[in-house]
Symmetry: C2
Subunit: 486 residues, 2 copies
């Protein structure tokens, strides 16, 4: 029975030999039903100016923790990534949208959390590189192998490493890959492809930047061609531009990748309405939803930070007109993916809110917050399903820390970087600082360890300190997967 993993068998709380000897198997009584009752609320409910009024914990957590530890392995795993999302980003979004004493839906309701180290490898020295990019970080959790910045699910020597999604598929599970970015961007790409350079989106770039991966040279092809060959049951995101490229070698030579997708049997949808109309997705008719030429638009309009922005009046964020009703929200894509994947086989689904990172690079706090709100909505959708299904592990993390910081609100302070004042839900001013570049668009990733949180079977593995390669192992273990199965 696949859902009982090797590790799961050890992970019995209350059963004989672990915490004490019970007289029968029934006595262990550690059934999943307990989890359904867990409905954690972590917003303060009191007067925050009074003793105890700001508490988020209403009682000792031990009972809840006990309820959250399950002996069975996971049938389904939903891994939700906020690209470039760590403690400063979570707090900024909470403060702005829900108030400092409020909670981020889903994210703040996960019972277990911890941190993992994100360093990547220097391609030349093979020693640690202290600030990762999304390619190396995604490769780490996807394959369990550290690599250099820019490498997509290859090791430091360029050798392909199998991803969780590929292993899950080989073991008979359904699979999904959902993002708000181009489908060829690093985070979605690490689950479905192996290239030596992250920019190898289509046949043209591959011949230029990573010719060893090109089909004509005996490689696996560009990221998009590998995505089509890997064939997840559900693939949703942006990046249509590359699908207009023409294959330069292989079985589909001379045909566009769009045509190739259709000839391979994919249902291709291009709008939120079309997505809503899809009734099934499987290996006979996998779903490919592509809702923008490039990245999906951000939910909120830009409000770029500027030099001395901390001296300017505070503003509110506003909806982005480019985010039309034709663009599906991340929460809706997540719910749809779950609906299409759930069933007897079990599934592995990766979901990414990718533009928290991109807005951070742009020194755009409103874009960043809006995409963190999208992340929270996706987590809530995953958590709602997990609470109902009882055998679903939900993991939420960022791939690396980023430049944004909540700074002191003081118009007299000479701030070296780009700053912006916003008016929060509390009606107060919050100051956001981007201090790693004076050029919006050039803000950098940072190297701090990153929060990882979870709910469901195996969720305990996230607490304390771990490494970004650890999730590969506990996810595949919890799913009971044979990592060598072809």
């Amino acid at each position: 029975m696949r859902a009982i993993s090797a590790l799961g068998a050890v992970a019995v709380l209350g059963a004989a030999g672990v915490l004490g000897a019970c007289s029968s198997d029934d006595a262990a009584g550690n059934d999943g039903d307990k989890v359904a009752g867990v409905d954690i609320q972590r917003a303060a409910t009191g007067d925050i100016t009074k003793n105890g009024g700001a508490r988020r914990l209403s009682e000792d957590q031990t009972q809840m923790i006990a309820d959250s530890i399950q002996k069975s392995g996971a049938k389904n795993v939903i891994l939700v990534i906020g690209d470039g999302t760590a403690n400063q980003e979570y707090t900024l979004a909470r403060d702005y949208e829900y108030g400092a004493a409020g909670q981020l839906p889903g994210i703040d309701q996960l019972p277990f959390s911890g941190d993992y180290t994100t360093y990547s490898l220097n391609k030349d020295s093979h020693k640690p590189s202290y600030v990762t990019d999304s390619a190396a970080s995604g490769s780490a959790w996807s394959t369990g192998t550290k690599t250099y910045n820019g490498g997509i699910s290859v090791d430091v020597n360029g050798k392909a490493q199998r991803s969780i999604l590929e292993i899950a598929k080989a073991n008979g599970l359904k699979t999904g890959d959902v993002t708000t970015t181009e489908l060829q961007d690093a985070t979605p790409a690490v689950q479905v492809s192996h290239v030596s350079q992250r920019k190898c989106y289509g046949p043209k770039a591959t011949l230029e930047k990573c010719p060893e991966n090109a089909l004509e040279n005996g490689g696996l092809g560009s990221i998009t061609e590998q995505l089509l060959a890997t064939r997840p049951d559900v693939t949703l995101g942006g990046g249509w531009e590359t699908f207009n490229e023409t294959a330069t070698a292989g079985e589909y030579k001379g045909k566009t990748l769009d045509v190739q997708a259709k000839e391979r049997g994919y249902q291709v949808v291009r709008s939120a309405d079309e997505l809503a109309g899809v009734k099934a997705a499987d290996q006979d008719k996998p779903l490919l939803g592509v809702f923008a030429d490039g990245n999906l638009p951000r939910m909120w309009s830009k409000a770029t930070a500027v030099k001395d922005g901390n001296k300017q009046p505070a503003v509110k964020c506003s909806p982005n007109a480019e985010f039309t009703s034709a663009v599906p929200k991340l929460g809706a894509m997540t719910t749809k993916a779950i609906d299409l994947l759930k069933g007897d086989k079990g599934f592995f689904l990766q979901v990414e809110s990718g533009s928290v990172d991109k807005a951070n690079h742009d020194a755009d706090p409103c874009g960043q917050i809006g995409e963190t709100v999208q992340l929270a909505d996706a987590v809530k959708a995953a958590l709602d399903f997990a609470k109902e299904s009882k055998d679903t592990l939900v993991i939420v993390t960022g791939d690396h820390a980023h430049s944004s910081q909540i700074a002191e609100t003081d118009a007299e302070l000479p701030m070296p970087g780009l700053t912006r004042n916003l008016t929060t839900k509390d009606g107060e001013t919050i100051t956001v600082s981007y201090g790693t570049s004076l050029e919006a668009g050039e803000e950098q990733h940072t190297g701090g360890q990153v929060r990882i949180a979870a709910y469901g079977p195996g969720a305990v593995n996230v607490t304390g300190l771990s490494d970004q390669t650890d999730p590969f192992f506990y996810i595949t273990d919890q799913l009971g997967l044979d990592r060598d199965k072809k």
Copy 2:
């Protein structure tokens, strides 16, 4: 029996009614002995360039988590604070001193971790203030009440709020307060005093800055006078300068605070050697160790970040000659305090590595890393005792996030703030950025949620999201304290 708290009684894993019904009390079998076996190692042990080589988890954590959850309340609590220490600071210290795949002693070995929100209150609007100072943050965990920046264990209206240390003492426990800063600095002060303005160190400043707290006006007196009156069994740190001041009112009027301490029965020690010679400390002869006029010197010499420092060669940190053998290290002070406090009564001990914050303000990565290493040593000392004693809760956290960030190492990048390149244990270059001020000495706190980690009875309460006021409640609950006892 005090050590069994009301919450502790609920916190039974594996016992009847929690995870399942066992046939006898013995069957619960959840004794503290299990904890002694926990010896977590979280450094990577493999070749970090190979699949799985960078893992920090050697196996599923569920068994360890089960071992870490205890039904009994805590007899002792050790709360260790890294001032201004959050994920960027932990990672920088680990990368530099132990290598990216290494571990911070103690800190990285704590089984549970999570994050708490640190916002303080605006004194005028009583609404959230998004970046706290050490006074408001310390008041939050110390008293369970949010306050304004600058307030020392008073509420937003200036009303005194009882601290954990005061409550523990009233309940018959022994108590200690240890720091690397002046004893009057905010973090040590919040456990022993209540003033409306954090700078009210001695009688003179109190008459000027918070006259309502002055003895002559019917107040509780300056921070130092309140410290002497609160009378912890063990008080260790810096700040001798204020002890040379003369009391301007009250029973000791006209006498220096130094004389007052001796007349009140304190054993006063001024060097590491004298500290080592102390054999006992209790309410008859409480220990007051003061090892510097101001803050204790930092363990490592300054290597201040500068504009365009990322274009300069990387350096190694060096020992600070001012840190002579007369100055006790934080780890040694922690061990000594534990030795003097342990016994039948149980104890509450707060330990602070205070200059992680001060070096951060100074844009001094070497100072900052050295004091984070001191923090790790203190945590290791606490953890060593907790593993042996089995009934000790160790909590480790920072009071607020700070400005330092690990940035990309690239001499071509135009960095707006102050930067510095260091050569790590790995033999690679790491770049540290301070982006909230161009003036060393003026770097700011930041508002991100902060890591909190723990070991021992009640440790589970730190995981997931909580608020900075929560520890007041679960610490006093785990100790079984009557919070109203005078």
